[in-house]
C-alpha cells in the first residue's frame, strides 16, 4: 500500500507518524536523498564504511607483502646497489591498492547491501510510482507483511495523512 506525497515535508511527517504508530515494515521512496525520512522510519546505521575499511586494509597488505616477497624471496636481484627490501619504494603501489580495494568494496558493498540489482520490484506495478518516485513525488509504503496491516484500515490510515493518492500494490 503506497501513498504519494507532493513535498518531502509531507512525506517526512507522514512517515514519522506511521513509525510512531508502531509501523515497522515500511519504506519511503524519494527522487533524491532525504535523510530526515530515513530517520523518521528509524534507519540510521549502515555497514558500508566497515566494508570499505576492511577492503582497504586487504589491498594494503596484499600489495606490500607481494612486493616484499618478490624482491626479497622470489628473485632477489642487485638493482643498482639498492637493498632488496627497499620499503620506501614499496609504499606507493601499496598505497594505490589500498585505495583501489577500498573504493571497489565501497561501491559494490553499497550495491550488494541495497540488494541490487533488483530489476523487478512489485512497486513498479503501482501506476503512479515510476512516473513520480524518480522525478518529483514522494512515496510512503506500508507493507502487507506488517502485523498492523489490513487492506481497508491501512488505506484509511494513509488517506488521513493528506497524500495525493493512495494505491494498493500487488505483491
Amino acid at each position: 500500500m503506497i501513498a504519494e506525497f507532493e513535498t518531502p515535508s509531507d512525506l517526512v511527517r507522514a512517515a514519522q507518524a506511521a513509525y510512531n504508530d508502531g509501523w515497522r515494515r515500511m519504506d519511503c521512496y524519494t527522487p533524491y536523498p532525504v535523510e530526515e525520512a530515513a530517520e523518521a522510519i528509524g534507519f540510521h546505521k549502515d555497514r558500508v564504511s566497515l566494508l570499505t575499511l576492511t577492503g582497504g586494509l586487504m589491498g594494503l597488505c596484499a600489495m606490500f607483502s607481494l612486493e616484499t616477497w618478490i624482491s626479497t624471496l622470489a628473485y632477489p636481484l642487485n638493482i643498482g646497489g639498492r637493498p632488496t627490501y627497499s620499503w620506501p619504494a614499496f609504499i606507493v603501489p601499496a598505497y594505490e591498492w589500498t585505495i583501489l580495494f577500498a573504493g571497489l568494496s565501497a561501491a559494490f558493498g553499497m550495491i550488494a547491501l541495497n540488494g541490487l540489482p533488483s530489476l523487478y520490484h512489485p512497486l513498479f506495478n503501482a501506476p503512479n510510482f515510476r512516473t513520480g518516485a524518480t522525478d518529483d513525488k514522494f512515496f510512503l509504503c506500508l507493507e502487507a507483511l506488517d502485523p498492523k496491516y489490513d487492506a481497508s484500515g491501512t488505506r484509511a490510515y494513509l488517506e488521513s495523512m493528506g497524500p495525493n493518492s493512495v494505491v494498493e500494490v500487488e505483491y
Binding site: L77, N78, I79, G81, P83
Partner: protein
C-alpha cells in the same frame, strides 16, 4: 617466442657452421630473397625512382635514399608479420641441424679456433690472429706475439672482416656485363699470353695497387723475364707521389725519443701512416708514468689530426708553408746546404721555430723528426737531414733496406694513359685497383680505358672500373687466399686463408703466375717456394717444420730489414716556396675511415665518427672558423670548389685548429658503384685532384645554394656566455669543452703541476674522491670477482680502433646516415672529443666513453621490468630478451651510453652477414635497449674454463674487444678485487678519477687524468686569433 628471432638465425648458424662451404656458396647465390633485395636496391638506386618516392612521401624519401634504412623500409611487411606472430606468442618453428658428413679432426663445434695471418695494407702488413668459428672468421685482431703490433690493430684491419662478408661483392666473372665463368676468361687470357710470347708481351699492360707481397714481386720479376716488353704500373691513389712509395722508408723508434717533431705527420690516428701501431705504442709507453719522465710532442701540421691535437705544442701551417718551415728548421739546427726560401713568418711561428730548435738541439740523439708522407718529398729529405744533423740516425731513426719500390707511381700512370691514348695497349689487366674512380682527374682515365683493346678488372666489387672493363674477375679477399706481406720492420708474415673464397674469387698471384712456365701453380705453392730458402737455411732447419712454425707463429724468422745506415747521398734538396698567403689552399688526404675509397662499402667505417670532426657518412671541406666566416657560409652549407676549371660541390664543416685560408678534402667518397652502403655518400674529391699536385694545390671556393645534411655525432657550439652566465666571456672557446672542464669530466695538468701536486685529479668540490661509506643503505658486497676498467687518457690518441673492434665483437648494427643525424648511432663505445682553449688553436682531450658499470647504477633502479640489473661480479648487465623498451634507463643514464633499437636496425636477411656474426652475442632486434657489456661473453667463457680447471681467473685472461684493439694499450680490464691485478693498481693510482663522481654512481670504469709536458718557453698563453663563428 621472442623477438630475438635474429639470434634465432644466430643459433641456426651454430649448426649451419657444419655446412660445407659449397653449400654456403650455393646459399649465397641461390637465395631468392637476396636477388629480390638486390634488384630493389638497384631500382631504388635510380634517380627517377627516388624522385618518384620523394613525390609520394616527402619525408620518407630520405629513408629510401638512405641505403641502410631503405632495407629496413622494404622489410616492413615481414617485420609486421613477425610482430603479429610475436604478439600471438606463437611457438618457435622447428630448427634443422646440419651435421657434418665427415667432421674435421681438430674441430670442436662451439669452440673457436685462432689462426695467424696478416692484413696486407698499402702502408705495410698488419700481423693478425683471426678468431674462427667453425672455419668462419668472426673477429680480426692483431697478432699478440708479433713484435710489431703486439696484438693491436686499427680501424681498417678490424673492418676488413665486414669487407669480407660484404653482400655486394661481385660473385661472378663477367664479360661486357654478362655473367660468365672464370675459365672462360682464363682461356682468353692464356691465348693472349701465348700470342704474346713471341713479341715479348708487347702491348700487355698491368695496372695494380702497390705490390706489397714479396711473392708477387718475385712472380712479376719472373714474368718480366718471360715477357720483357710487358709493362706493370703500380698506382695507389693515397700513396702515389709520396716519398714512401718512392722507397724511402726510415724506421722510427720512439721509445728512446724525448722530443718528437711531427712535420705534418699524422702517425697517431691510423694505419694510413706506416708503422702506426708501433709508433703509437712507443709514443704512449713514454706517457704512462709521468713521474718517470715523459716525451714531448711538437706538431706542425696543415690539417688538424689527433697527432697535432695530442701534441704539447701544435703549429697550424698551410700545407705549402711546411716545406719552407722544415727548411728553416733545418738551417736552424745546422743542416748544411739547405736553402730555405725566405718567407715572412708570423711572430708566433718564429717563436715556435726558435723554441723548437732549442729543444731539438738540447735533445740531440734523443729526439726524432717524423715527416708527413702526404707532403712534398723535400720534407722527408729535410727530416732525414735534420735527424742526421741531430745524430738521431741509428738512435731513434734507422734507415731500412729494400722498401716497397714501386717507383714514381704517378709517372707510371701517366705513361700508361699516354700509351692507352696512343693505342699501344692491347691488353690492360687491372689488379685490385679502381683507376676509373681514383686516377688523377687530368688524366681522364675513363676515356683512355676505352681505347684499350681488351681490359680486365680483377676486383672484389664490380666498381666504377669493373663496370667499364670488358672482363671482370671477382677477386678473393685476403682472408680467402694465400699470400705474404712485410710488416713495417720488414718481417714477413704469411697470409693464409681463413675460409674458402665465398664467391670463387682469384688473386693477382693467379694472374701473374699464369704468365710463367707452370701457370697452374697455386698461390700456396708460390708463397712456399718464395720462402723455401729463407726458412730452410739456418741450423739446417727442416722446411716443412719451419713452414708450419711460420704459419703458427704468424711470421718468418730473420726477415727483418737489415738496418743499413748507408745514408742517402746528400743531394741538394729543392724546397718549393709557399703559395701566396691569400691563395686558397686545398689539401687532399685519404679518408681516416674509408682510406682511398676501398672501404666505402663497409658500414662500420662509414658510420664511424671521424677523429677530430666526428663526421660520419660523408666527407666535407674542412675549414677553420675564420675561413668559414670569410667564405660567408655556415656549417652544412654547400661550397663549389674549383681547381683549374674542374668543379666539385662540397659541404662545409669547421675543423678546430685548421689553418686559415685553406680547406681539407678527404678522398674516397662520392663513389657511384661502391655498393648499397657506400654509393652516393659524400663527394668525390678526386674530381679536382690532378697528377701534378696530388696532396695540395690552390683553388677557389664559392657558396652555392642548398644545404648538405651532414651527420656529426657530437654537438659543437661556441661558448658565447658572459661570465655571469657561467661562461668565460671569450667567445672563442668550445661550450662543450668549457662545460666538460667545469664538470670535472676532463681533468688534466702539466708535468710541473703534477709533480707539485700528484693528487690534482681528485680535488675541489666538483672532483670529490668517491666516499664508499657515504651512503644511506649498506654497500653491496662483491666477493669473488669484481670487474673494472681503467682508461689512460694520456695514452688514448682517439684513433677509433676500439670502436670498430667493438662493432665486430658485439654484432652492433649499422643504422645509416639519416638515423645518425638524429642521434641514433649504435656504437656502444664512443670517443668524446673536447677542444680545450681557443678553437682557432685548440688542444684536444680524447675520452673513450662506454657504459661505466656504476655500482649505484641510476639506470637499473628505474627499469620497471628489471631488464638491467647488477651481477654478483658488479657488471651492469642488460637482458635484451627482458627489455620492453621504455627507454627510461637511457634517460636516467648520466653518461648517455645506452643505445636503443628505435627501428629494426639489425639485418636479419642478408645471408653473408649471418656468417660474420659473433655466435656468443645476441643480435638485438627492434625495441630493445643495448649497451657495453664489458664483453660479458668473454668473461663467461673464461669463467667456465676456470671453473672446469677449478681455479680463479688469471689476471689478463679476460680481454675486452676494445682493450685488444688499442695500439696505445690505453684500456686495461680485470678484477679489481685482486689487488695484484694490473687494473687494480691502475685504479689505485692518484691520477685516477671517475667521471661525474659527485653523482655517487661509483663507476667501475675510471680514467687516468692526462699530464702534458709543455716546453716552458712556449707554455704561456698563445697569441689571440680572430674570433670566428662556429
Amino acid at each position: 617466442m621472442s623477438s630475438e628471432g635474429g639470434n634465432g638465425m644466430m643459433r641456426k648458424n651454430e649448426e649451419q657452421k657444419a655446412l660445407t662451404l659449397d653449400q654456403v656458396r650455393t646459399k649465397l647465390e641461390g637465395v631468392k630473397g637476396k636477388r629480390y633485395w638486390r634488384s630493389i636496391d638497384e631500382l631504388a638506386g635510380t634517380p627517377e625512382f627516388e624522385a618518384a618516392v620523394a613525390k609520394e612521401f616527402p619525408d620518407a624519401a630520405a629513408e629510401w635514399v638512405d641505403p641502410v634504412s631503405r632495407r629496413g623500409f622494404l622489410k616492413l611487411m615481414s617485420a609486421s608479420l613477425a610482430l603479429a606472430g610475436l604478439a600471438g606468442c606463437t611457438k618457435q618453428p622447428d630448427e634443422p641441424i646440419y651435421p657434418y658428413v665427415k667432421q674435421p679432426e681438430d674441430l670442436v663445434l662451439g669452440k673457436a679456433n685462432y689462426f695467424a695471418t696478416a692484413h696486407p695494407f698499402a702502408t705495410g702488413g698488419v700481423p693478425l690472429l683471426v678468431k674462427s668459428d667453425a672455419y668462419r672468421p668472426i673477429k680480426v685482431d692483431g697478432n699478440p706475439d708479433h713484435a710489431y703490433n703486439l696484438g693491436s690493430s686499427d680501424v681498417f684491419t678490424q673492418a676488413t672482416l665486414l669487407d669480407l662478408y660484404d653482400p655486394d661483392r661481385s660473385q661472378h666473372a663477367t664479360v661486357r656485363g654478362t655473367t660468365t665463368e672464370y675459365v672462360e676468361f682464363l682461356e682468353a687470357y692464356r691465348e693472349r699470353l701465348n700470342a704474346g710470347k713471341a713479341n715479348g708481351g708487347e702491348g700487355l699492360y698491368f695496372l695494380s695497387t702497390s705490390f706489397t707481397s714479396p711473392t708477387l714481386q718475385r712472380q712479376w720479376a719472373e714474368a718480366q723475364k718471360a715477357y720483357p716488353k710487358a709493362k706493370l704500373v703500380q698506382y695507389d691513389p693515397a700513396l702515389a707521389g709520396t716519398a714512401f712509395a718512392a722507397g724511402l722508408n726510415p724506421q722510427f723508434s720512439l721509445d728512446k725519443a724525448d722530443v718528437i717533431l711531427a712535420l705534418d705527420a699524422d702517425f697517431l690516428s691510423g694505419a694510413g701512416y706506416p708503422g702506426f701501431h708501433k709508433l703509437t705504442r712507443e709514443y704512449a709507453a713514454r706517457r704512462k708514468n709521468p713521474a718517470k719522465g715523459m716525451n714531448r710532442l711538437y706538431s706542425v701540421e696543415s690539417t688538424p689530426s689527433t697527432t697535432g691535437l695530442k701534441a704539447e705544442h701544435r703549429l697550424g701551417l698551410r700545407a705549402s708553408e711546411i716545406p719552407a718551415f722544415a727548411a728553416a728548421l733545418a738551417t736552424a739546427v745546422g743542416v748544411p746546404g739547405v736553402s730555405a726560401p725566405n718567407y715572412s713568418w708570423s711572430a708566433e711561428q718564429t717563436k715556435f721555430l726558435s723554441a723548437l730548435t732549442k729543444d731539438l738541439k738540447a735533445n740531440a740523439g734523443k729526439s726524432v723528426v717524423i715527416p708527413g708522407i702526404y707532403q712534398d718529398p723535400s720534407v722527408a729529405a729535410l727530416a732525414l737531414a735534420i735527424n742526421k744533423a741531430l745524430g738521431n740516425i741509428d738512435a731513434t731513426v734507422s734507415l731500412a733496406g729494400e722498401a716497397s719500390t714501386s717507383g714514381d707511381q704517378i709517372a707510371g700512370l701517366k705513361g700508361l694513359v699516354a700509351d692507352l691514348n696512343a693505342g699501344k695497349v692491347d691488353w690492360l689487366v687491372m689488379l685490385n685497383s679502381n683507376p676509373v674512380y681514383d686516377a688523377p682527374a687530368d688524366l681522364d682515365f675513363k676515356t683512355a680505358l676505352g681505347k684499350a683493346k681488351v681490359s680486365v678488372h680483377l676486383g672484389s666489387h664490380i666498381d666504377e672500373t669493373g663496370a667499364e672493363a670488358i672482363w671482370h674477375v671477382p677477386a678473393a679477399h685476403y682472408l680467402e687466399s694465400w699470400s705474404d706481406v712485410r710488416a713495417y720492420d720488414g718481417t714477413v708474415s704469411v697470409i693464409q686463408p681463413m675460409i674458402e673464397p665465398l664467391y670463387g674469387g682469384h688473386t693477382a698471384h693467379d694472374l701473374i703466375q699464369a704468365m710463367l712456365d707452370e701457370p697452374q701453380t697455386s698461390a700456396y705453392e708460390a708463397v712456399r717456394s718464395t720462402w723455401k730458402s729463407t726458412i730452410s737455411k739456418g741450423s739446417g732447419a727442416d722446411f716443412e717444420l719451419g713452414w708450419r712454425k711460420a704459419l703458427h707463429a704468424g711470421w718468418i724468422e730473420d726477415t727483418k730489414y737489415a738496418a743499413s745506415s748507408a745514408a742517402t747521398a746528400a743531394t741538394a734538396i729543392k724546397v718549393p716556396t709557399p703559395s701566396s698567403k691569400d691563395a686558397f689552399e686545398l689539401i687532399f688526404r685519404p679518408d681516416p675511415n674509408i682510406y682511398d675509397g676501398r672501404y666505402s662499402n663497409v658500414g662500420w667505417l662509414q658510420e664511424l665518427p671521424k677523429p677530430v670532426t666526428n663526421l660520419a657518412w660523408d666527407n666535407a671541406a674542412l675549414v677553420s672558423g675564420a675561413t668559414l666566416t670569410k667564405l660567408g657560409v655556415d656549417e652544412g652549407d654547400i661550397l663549389e670548389i674549383t681547381v683549374g676549371g674542374r668543379k666539385v660541390k662540397t659541404p662545409v664543416l669547421v675543423a678546430p685548429g685548421h689553418p686559415d685560408n685553406s680547406a681539407t678534402l678527404h678522398l674516397g667518397y662520392g663513389r657511384e658503384a661502391a655498393g648499397r652502403v657506400g654509393s652516393g655518400a659524400g663527394f668525390n674529391a678526386y674530381l679536382v685532384r690532378t697528377s701534378d699536385a696530388p696532396f695540395y694545390t690552390t683553388g677557389t671556393a664559392v657558396k652555392v645554394e642548398g644545404k648538405w645534411g651532414i651527420a656529426v655525432t657530437k654537438s659543437h657550439f661556441q661558448d658565447l656566455r658572459s661570465k655571469v652566465e657561467g661562461g668565460d666571456g671569450s667567445g672563442t672557446h668550445s661550450l662543450e669543452a668549457n662545460e666538460a672542464e667545469t664538470r670535472g669530466v676532463i681533468r688534466s695538468a702539466t708535468l710541473e703541476e703534477f709533480k707539485a701536486n700528484p693528487g690534482f685529479a681528485n680535488e675541489g668540490e666538483e672532483h670529490p674522491k668517491v666516499e664508499r661509506d657515504n651512503t644511506l643503505f649498506a654497500n653491496w658486497e662483491y666477493k669473488d670477482n669484481a670487474w673494472g676498467m681503467s682508461i689512460d687518457l694520456n695514452s688514448c690518441t682517439g684513433c677509433n680502433a676500439c670502436i670498430v673492434g667493438c662493432y665486430a665483437e658485439n654484432n652492433i648494427a649499422v643504422v645509416g646516415k639519416q638515423q645518425v643525424r638524429i642521434g641514433r648511432n649504435m656504437q656502444w663505445l664512443r670517443i668524446d672529443t673536447y677542444f680545450e682553449g681557443d678553437l682557432a688553436a685548440p688542444k684536444a682531450h680524447f675520452q673513450p666513453m662506454a657504459c661505466q658499470h656504476c655500482e649505484n647504477a641510476p639506470c637499473e633502479q628505474v627499469c620497471p621490468v628489471g631488464a638491467t640489473v647488477h651481477t654478483p661480479e658488479g657488471i651492469n648487465t642488460m637482458v635484451y630478451n627482458r627489455c620492453v623498451g621504455t627507454r627510461y634507463c637511457a634517460n636516467n643514464c648520466p653518461y648517455k651510453v645506452r643505445r636503443f633499437n628505435f627501428l629494426l636496425f639489425s639485418d636479419f636477411e642478408t645471408e653473408s652477414l649471418k656468417l660474420m656474426r659473433n655466435p656468443d652475442v645476441s643480435v638485438r632486434s627492434r625495441g630493445v635497449m643495448e649497451k657495453c657489456s664489458y664483453c660479458v661473453q668473454r668473461i663467461s667463457e673464461a669463467k667456465i674454463e676456470a671453473d672446469k680447471e677449478n681455479r680463479a681467473i688469471r689476471d689478463g685472461e679476460v680481454v675486452t674487444a676494445c682493450q685488444q684493439a688499442c695500439p696505445a694499450s690505453a684500456i686495461t680490464f680485470g678484477n679489481i678485487n685482486d689487488k695484484t691485478s694490473k687494473v687494480a693498481t691502475l685504479l689505485a693510482d692518484e691520477r685516477t678519477y671517475s667521471v661525474l663522481a659527485d653523482l655517487n654512481t661509483r663507476p667501475r670504469t675510471q680514467y687516468t687524468a692526462a699530464v702534458l709536458n709543455p716546453n716552458p718557453e712556449l707554455a704561456e698563453a698563445p697569441v689571440e686569433h680572430a674570433p670566428a663563428k662556429g
